[in-house]
Each structure stands twice: as structure tokens, then as C-alpha cells.
């Protein structure tokens, strides 16, 4: 397939890995973090973790949107699903994430109308088809998802669909990168920056992180050769003590990003403080719907109560998301927490770190 097979060539991958081996030994580990769930899965699926030299440590960060969603936002989604005449629309991953005492999956078995959609415009169509119901889309996702939600809100306004609203729990990655670097206990040497988040925000979006923290960033594609290329570029910079942004994924990412999508995000949303699972409150790391579009804001449309959050006491999802703990170090992993009966979101999502460890590296 075009733009795919050439990035999976096993011979080229082998030679890239061998070159890395010839560079060892180093006097210390080089710690690189990927912050995109699709990278996490691609790295595990390729098996490269076992093949890289042991002085390169790949750490999975907070790159899975469902996993970083705060428990109170999961609980508020569940609360919304219990309201009369409400249809919840969401991407599939969220349905099985356990909240304090239930999940959307459990609410559905109790009669709640929870529908999985492929695209935000599908949610809008459900609203048009059900004029007597309130249709709420759960806006969980990073900068890649935000413009698609913004597009649905603008279209709802243009078509006069007034029974559609969005619960916006979007997250922005660069503020989370700053929060991780401020926490000091990670000692990161570089970031494998996300592919399609960067398609929207551009490689330029990491320049501030690079200059403030002097840490190399490489925007990276999703195929094995893309990731190995990126590791080479990061190791080069670490050894030369250089810090800059390199765009390895030029076929899908422009330096300035997708300006049309950026404008649409800015038209509908404004930055807001947001709480991340594991990272806590990060200033300016979320998106809330602007006052002008507030009729489409589920937070304004429904009087949501304050919900007291209860997380599973043994769940180490937060530590896993910050990269300070690996899933096998959690007492629940595999014993009581499995994809069939997940205790935390990192095991639920197909791109969660615990799920990836479970499937590919028991």
C-alpha cells in the first residue's frame, strides 16, 4: 500500500537497530517518552522494545485520551447518561471505563441510551433524527479530535439543531509535556512527539517546550521505520547536547500545522484549566466552549451536581500515565485487572499502556 509498505521494510529496520547497538555502551540510559497512544501500540506491536539496546529506555506517557480523562469527568458522563430523554454519543473507548460506581456500559444495560459513533457528524445526525431527545457528544480527545468536534458544533448552529450539545473534556498536549518536565522525577532526554496531533498543531508547537527545557522533540510517524528513524534523531541530539524540534513525519505534518483546523478550534473553544488523571490540574491544558457557542455546551445545558469521586484504591493508572511506573509494577495488573474486567482506564483502552503490556508483553 502507498505510503505504508516502504516504512515497514524489515531489512532497513534491522540495520537501523544494529547501528544503535554499535553506539553502545553509554554511561547512562537515554530516556525517551512517547506521548501518543497510537505510538505506544505501534512500538509494542513491532516488538522493537526487546530489540533496542538496553541503554535506550522507551517510556509511555499520557498519550491515551480516555486514560488521561479525570475520574470526575467519567462520573459526569455517567451522570449525563442517567438523565431522562438523553442520548449519549461517544467514541467507543470510553464506554467501558469504570467511574466511581458504574460505567457507561453498565448504564446502558440498565436502559441508558449510549451510542458509539465513528465521527462527530454521526452524533449530529442522531440529534436530527431524534428531535424530542437531547443528544450529548462526549468530547474526549486531544488536538486531533477537537476540530472535528468544533466542526459539528458549527454545523449544528448552521442547521439549527438545538438538541445537540457537547461535554468538552478535551486535552492539549504541550501543556502536559511542560507539567511532566516540571515534575522533575522523570529525567527525560527526549520526546517522540505525536503524529496526528502534530498534523493539527504543527511541529512548531513544540518549540516553546524545546527552548524552555532544552529537550529534543521529534515529530514521528507511526510505522516501525518512522519510530526507529526518530530514535536515531533523538539519540543524535542527546549526544550532541542539542535540543531542537525535528519533523520526521513530513508526509503528514507541516511545520505550521493545519491552520484551518487551528482557526476552527479557536473559533469554538478557548483554553481552560483541566484536570488530568495522574497529572492533576494543569493550567491551560483543556478546551472549553466559548460563551458565544454556550447553547451547545452540555455543562451549561444540564445542571451537573458535584460528584464525589472514588477510584479503585490499588489502581496505579496515574503513575503509569506519568511514566514513573510500568504496568507490571502495579499490584492489580493481570491479577485482578484485565481487559475483560478492567479496574482503570489504562487497561480499558486499546491504546492504554496497561492494555498494550497485557497484550504484547505479559
Amino acid at each position: 500500500m502507498e505510503y505504508l509498505d516502504e516504512y515497514r521494510d524489515p531489512e532497513a529496520a534491522k540495520s537501523l537497530i544494529e547501528t544503535l547497538h554499535r553506539r553502545s555502551p553509554f554511561d547512562r540510559q537515554i530516556r525517551l517518552m512517547e506521548i501518543c497512544g497510537t505510538h505506544t501500540v505501534a512500538i509494542f506491536r513491532s516488538g522493537m522494545r526487546q530489540l533496542l539496546p538496553d541503554w535506550i529506555r522507551l517510556i509511555s506517557g499520557p498519550g491515551c485520551p480516555v486514560c488521561v480523562t479525570a475520574s470526575e469527568d467519567i462520573d459526569r458522563s455517567i451522570w449525563l447518561s442517567r438523565q431522562p430523554e438523553v442520548i449519549i454519543t461517544t467514541f467507543g473507548d470510553l464506554v467501558r471505563v469504570p467511574g466511581s460506581s458504574s460505567s457507561l456500559h453498565r448504564e446502558r444495560s440498565r436502559g441508558a441510551d449510549v451510542r458509539v459513533v465513528y465521527a462527530t457528524l454521526d452524533a449530529l445526525r442522531i440529534a436530527e433524527e431524534n428531535p424530542s431527545k437531547q443528544v450529548v457528544f462526549l468530547g474526549i480527545g486531544f488536538e486531533t479530535t477537537a476540530p472535528t468536534v468544533a466542526a459539528a458544533i458549527r454545523q449544528a448552529a448552521a442547521q439549527g439543531v438545538d438538541n445537540f450539545s457537547v461535554f468538552s473534556a478535551h486535552k492539549l498536549l504541550p501543556p502536559a509535556m511542560r507539567a511532566l518536565l516540571d515534575s522533575k522525577d522523570l529525567n527525560l532526554d527526549g520526546f517522540i512527539c505525536p503524529g496526528h496531533v502534530s498534523t493539527i498543531i504543527g511541529a512548531a508547537a513544540y518549540e516553546e517546550v524545546v527552548s524552555r527545557y532544552h529537550i529534543p522533540c521529534v515529530v514521528t510517524g507511526f510505522e516501525p521505520l518512522d519510530i526507529l528513524h526518530s530514535i536515531h534523531l533523538l539519540v543524535d541530539m542527546v549526544l550532541k547536547r542539542e535540543a531542537k524540534v525535528i519533523n520526521q513525519y513530513r508526509r503528514a505534518v507541516k511545520w505550521e500545522g493545519n491552520l484551518a483546523a487551528q482557526r476552527l478550534i479557536d473559533e469554538i473553544f478557548e483554553p481552560a484549566d483541566a484536570t488530568w488523571r495522574g497529572l492533576g490540574m494543569i493550567p491551560g491544558s483543556g478546551l472549553k466552549i466559548r460563551e458565544k457557542w454556550s447553547t451547545f455546551d452540555a455543562v451549561k445545558r444540564f445542571a451537573m451536581p458535584v460528584i464525589e469521586v472514588k477510584e479503585h484504591p490499588g489502581c496505579k493508572c496515574g503513575e503509569v500515565l506519568r511514566g514513573v511506573m510500568t504496568p507490571p509494577e502495579c499490584g492489580l495488573f493481570r491479577k485482578v485487572c484485565t481487559p475483560g474486567d478492567p479496574k482503570g482506564p489504562c487497561m480499558v483502552s486499546s491504546e492504554g499502556t496497561c492494555g498494550a503490556y497485557y497484550r504484547y508483553q505479559g
Binding site: 505501534a42 513525519y249 503528514a252 491504546e351
Partner: protein
């Protein structure tokens, strides 16, 4: 989760396109695409929206860099 596979545009109707992803056909909105899409173009699709048109020249150039690194590595192997 991001769909890592580029999609080929096979039909365009106003702001919607039909794209081929592997063997599957999908409807995709073009409203977030800054560049005009044409039949045969490859696009990156996220949750029902095309978000980027792949520039074949950029793709060729980055593949050239990648191959250069890989062949340099294998030359070292045998050299």
C-alpha cells in the same frame, strides 16, 4: 485512536469524499482540509475528517533520508 493508514480519495461530492483505507471504503468530510483534494490524492483521516493531504514530494524526501540512514547503517555492517 489515530488511524495511521493513509486513505486514497476515490470519490468527491461537495464537502464529502469517499476514501479507500486498505480494503474498506469510508465517507470522510473534507471541511478541515486546507488543500483542495482531488481523486487519487492520499489523505490522513481522523474520526471521519480528512485532516491532511499527503505531499508526494515531502514523502519522497523523507523516505530518501530514511533510506540513506538505513543503507549507511548496512554499509557499515559490511564495510
Amino acid at each position: 485512536m489515530c488511524l495511521a493508514i493513509p486513505a486514497e480519495v476515490v470519490q468527491i461530492e461537495d464537502e464529502m469524499a469517499t476514501v479507500r483505507i486498505g480494503d474498506a471504503l469510508r465517507k470522510t468530510s473534507l471541511i478541515l482540509l486546507p488543500d483542495k483534494a482531488e481523486l487519487g490524492d492520499y489523505v490522513i483521516v481522523h474520526a471521519g475528517f480528512a485532516i491532511h493531504k499527503i505531499d508526494p514530494e515531502e514523502a519522497a524526501e523523507s523516505l530518501r533520508l530514511l533510506r540513506e540512514l538505513a543503507s549507511f547503517a548496512s554499509e557499515e555492517d559490511h564495510g
